[in-house]
Each structure stands twice: as structure tokens, then as C-alpha cells.
């Protein structure tokens, strides 16, 4: 029995590996503060009105998102990003961490929350419990569960998905539209007009699930037809416009 328990635990752990960034040297140019709980990315410390709090995907080290976040800050120096660090890289274990971290930044007036994959599921759940705390929600290859449906939420949602995604397929995005406010399909040239209770759907043609970070090809994902840089350039441009419109 003891041996069985021991081997089961070891087996479980071997399949619980988190993805590290693909490049061994992560650019930290815009990191203002890094703690056990979060990474604050921006051009200056504590001088922001609007911040984008981002929940990483399941079993993915948060630093894999630094590659596109640096470009985002370059383009949007007036905003900050709070990249959440979650226990064992599974945000679902501690969903309340989002609010705990937000309370450390009382000067920030407008919060936009987002997440990739499982992180998006957690971000949606947090919004469904605290709908007035957030002005916008950005989902990357993700959707809310039925129990945290946001169909009646007054905020704005940007749902970004990729055509070659092997883990969050286009069919699944379609099937779960019922849990989000009514939607409009957009492209990179779309000009956001502030509306309430709307979801903007942006499809990255040729992109994949792993392209929302920089960690190589995730197990179960499909090959992309475009480069990660191209995918990130596309969604960075849309996210920038979306946040500016809030």
C-alpha cells in the first residue's frame, strides 16, 4: 500500500510538468516588480489608472507570456500588466488570488482581466462573482463555464481564438458563445465603439494554442501556419485597441 501510494504520487508529479519559456533568457526590461504572487510590467512604478491583470494557462510558467507583454507595454506605455503567479501553475487552485493581488494596487481605477486557456476560465469565474470590479474581459482560447456564465454581464468581452488550435477548437468556441454576451466578429482593422454587454470575436487565421505564449508547441496542439511573432502581433494590436476603448 505504502509503495503504491508513493509510486502514484511520483507518477502524478511526472505528468504535472509546467512549460518553461522557450528562450532561456527572458526579457525583463519592463518588469517593475516581481514577487511570489505577481509580476508588475509597465514603464513606471505605481502611476497607472488602467491595468490588465492576466491569469496564465494551466501548467504554464507565467514568464512564457513576457514575450508579447513587453511589446504591449512598448505600444501602450500608459497601461500596466499584472501577470499573476499561481500555485503549481494551476490558477483554479486559488481563484481568490486575483482579488488579493488587486487590493495591493488601490490607485488603479480601471481593471481589465484576461487569461489564456484555463486562466481564461478562472478569469471568467472571477468576473461572474465580482461583475462590478472589471470593465473588460479578454479571453485567449478560452470561454466561461456554464456555472459562471457572463451572458448578462454589462462589461465588454474580447474573445481571441486561433483557427489551428488543437486544445480550444473553433467548434468549442462556437458552442460556448451562449455563456458570453451577444457577439460581433472583428478583424485587426476594427475600431471599437464602447458598448455594453458585447463580445468581440477575433479569429487568428493560422494561429494555434501555443502561440498565445512563447513555450514551444504544447502537447495536443496543432502546428501553426503563421509564426508566433505574427500571431502575437495580431492579438497585441487588437488588445491595445480594446483596452484603449474602455
Amino acid at each position: 500500500m505504502k509503495q503504491f501510494l508513493l509510486f502514484s504520487i511520483i507518477f502524478l508529479f511526472l505528468f504535472s510538468c509546467s512549460y518553461l519559456p522557450e528562450n532561456e533568457k527572458v526579457e525583463m526590461n519592463y518588469v517593475q516588480e516581481e514577487t511570489n504572487d505577481y509580476i508588475l510590467i509597465g514603464e513606471q512604478e505605481n502611476a497607472y489608472d488602467t491595468c490588465f491583470i492576466f491569469v496564465p494557462g494551466g501548467l504554464v510558467d507565467p514568464h512564457v507570456y513576457m514575450c508579447w507583454m513587453n511589446s504591449f507595454i512598448e505600444q501602450n506605455p500608459n497601461y500596466c500588466i499584472l501577470l499573476l503567479k499561481v500555485p503549481s501553475n494551476l490558477a483554479i487552485i486559488d481563484q481568490n488570488k486575483v482579488l488579493r493581488v488587486m487590493k495591493k494596487f488601490p490607485n488603479i481605477k480601471t481593471w481589465v482581466i484576461g487569461g489564456h486557456s484555463l486562466g481564461g476560465v478562472v478569469a471568467s469565474a472571477v468576473v461572474s462573482i465580482n461583475p462590478t470590479y472589471f470593465s473588460g474581459l479578454i479571453l485567449m482560447a478560452s470561454w466561461p463555464t456554464e456555472s459562471s456564465s457572463l451572458a448578462d454581464w454589462n462589461g465588454l468581452v474580447l474573445s481571441i481564438y486561433a483557427s489551428n488550435d488543437g486544445l480550444a477548437t473553433v467548434d468549442e468556441i462556437e458552442a460556448n458563445k451562449q455563456f458570453l454576451p451577444s457577439g460581433i466578429d472583428i478583424d485587426t482593422s476594427y475600431i471599437f465603439n464602447k458598448k455594453e454587454n458585447t463580445t468581440y470575436y477575433f479569429e487568428i487565421i493560422g494561429g494555434n494554442h501555443s502561440g498565445f505564449g512563447c513555450y514551444g508547441l504544447q502537447k495536443g496542439d496543432n502546428q501553426a501556419d503563421i509564426t508566433q511573432k505574427e500571431q502575437q502581433k495580431q492579438f497585441n494590436s487588437v488588445i491595445s485597441k480594446f483596452i484603449k476603448s474602455i
Binding site: K2, L6, I9, I10, F13, L14, S16, C17, S18, Y19, L20, P21, E24, K25, V26, M28, V31, E34, T35, N36, D37, D61, H63, P87, S88, N89, I93, D94, Y215, G216
Partner: protein
């Protein structure tokens, strides 16, 4: 440095064959972080450890030497590690107090490859016999660990704090 750890581990392993009584111990623990970057309880940073401790006597004083395997979640990811610990036993009435010092090395589980982890800890444990050969105890220890190669990804790769939990001897 790694070689020193391995050397110590081999010494402990060989010592186990020589000395007397052996206890099987399991423990569950959690962390209170002392990190400059963030202080506080990290209940999610928890672990499970199994070990074999051997008692031995020097100049009529009781000591123990043990090897163990830990698995759990630390501030970075899932980890597993082997460790060696040494301590002194002191009897206080019905309680057994242990003063412990140990070191561990292992891996944080990442893809494409795990990252090497090493740590040291020191603290006290108090236990009481509940049934024949079965004991229950509480321990609290200062723990420091370092994941050297994580430095290329993060500015926070060294952690310290209090590690506390329950242990059972069989």
C-alpha cells in the same frame, strides 16, 4: 556543490545499514514565506514526505539519521526531492523532542527538462506516542531553497520561510 550533496547522501545511506532501530515517518507540511518579495502564509505550498529514520547513541545520548523523499508544490512548480537529515532526541516527560538539521536536493518539474533544486532546513519537532510504536508529532523548521537555473527566467529564484506540519511515525 552537487557532488558534496551526493556525498552526504551516500554517507547517510550507508550509515542506515550500520545503526540500530528504524522508524518509518510520513509528514505533511505547509509554508510561511519570509521572502523579501512577499511575506505570508502559502498554504498552497505544501508537501508530503516519507522517510526512514535510524536511532543511534553516542556517549549515552540519542541521535537519529534519516533519508527521505519529498513531493509537493513550492513557490515555482511541483517538485520532488531526496533529503538527508540528522538530529538529536531529547525526552521531555511523555514527549519526544527532536532538534533537526537537513539538506535536500531534487527537481522542480518543468518541460522540456526539470530544474535542479537544493535546500537546507533546521528546526524542532515534538511528538507523542499514541499507540505501540506509533507516534504523532508537530514540527516547525526554517527552510531555504534555491532553484539556480530558474534565475534565467525570473528575478525570484531563492525562497525561505517557515515550514510547519504534522508527522506520524510507524
Amino acid at each position: 556543490m552537487k557532488k558534496i550533496h551526493i556525498f552526504v547522501f551516500i554517507i547517510v545511506l550507508s550509515s542506515l545499514k550500520i545503526f540500530g532501530q528504524q522508524n518509518f515517518r510520513i509528514s505533511f507540511s505547509s509554508d510561511y514565506s519570509f521572502n523579501k518579495s512577499q511575506k505570508g502564509f502559502y498554504m498552497s505550498n505544501s508537501g508530503f514526505r516519507t522517510s526512514f529514520d535510524k536511532l543511534f547513541y553516542l556517549k549515552n545520548k540519542s541521535y537519529f539519521l534519516g533519508t527521505g523523499l519529498s513531493v509537493g508544490v513550492n513557490s515555482v512548480a511541483f517538485f520532488s526531492a531526496i533529503d538527508a537529515r540528522l538530529g538529536k532526541n531529547i525526552s521531555i516527560g511523555i514527549f519526544d523532542l527532536k532538534i533537526i538539521a537537513g539538506m535536500q536536493q531534487g527537481a522542480d518539474w518543468f518541460r522540456p527538462k526539470p530544474l535542479y533544486l537544493f535546500g537546507v532546513y533546521s528546526g524542532v519537532e515534538i511528538s507523542k506516542q499514541i499507540l505501540k510504536k506509533k507516534r504523532i508529532g508537530f514540527f516547525i523548521q526554517y527552510k531555504y531553497y534555491n532553484i539556480p537555473k530558474y534565475k534565467s527566467y525570473s528575478t525570484v529564484n531563492q525562497f525561505d520561510g517557515l515550514n510547519f506540519g504534522l508527522c506520524f511515525y510507524f
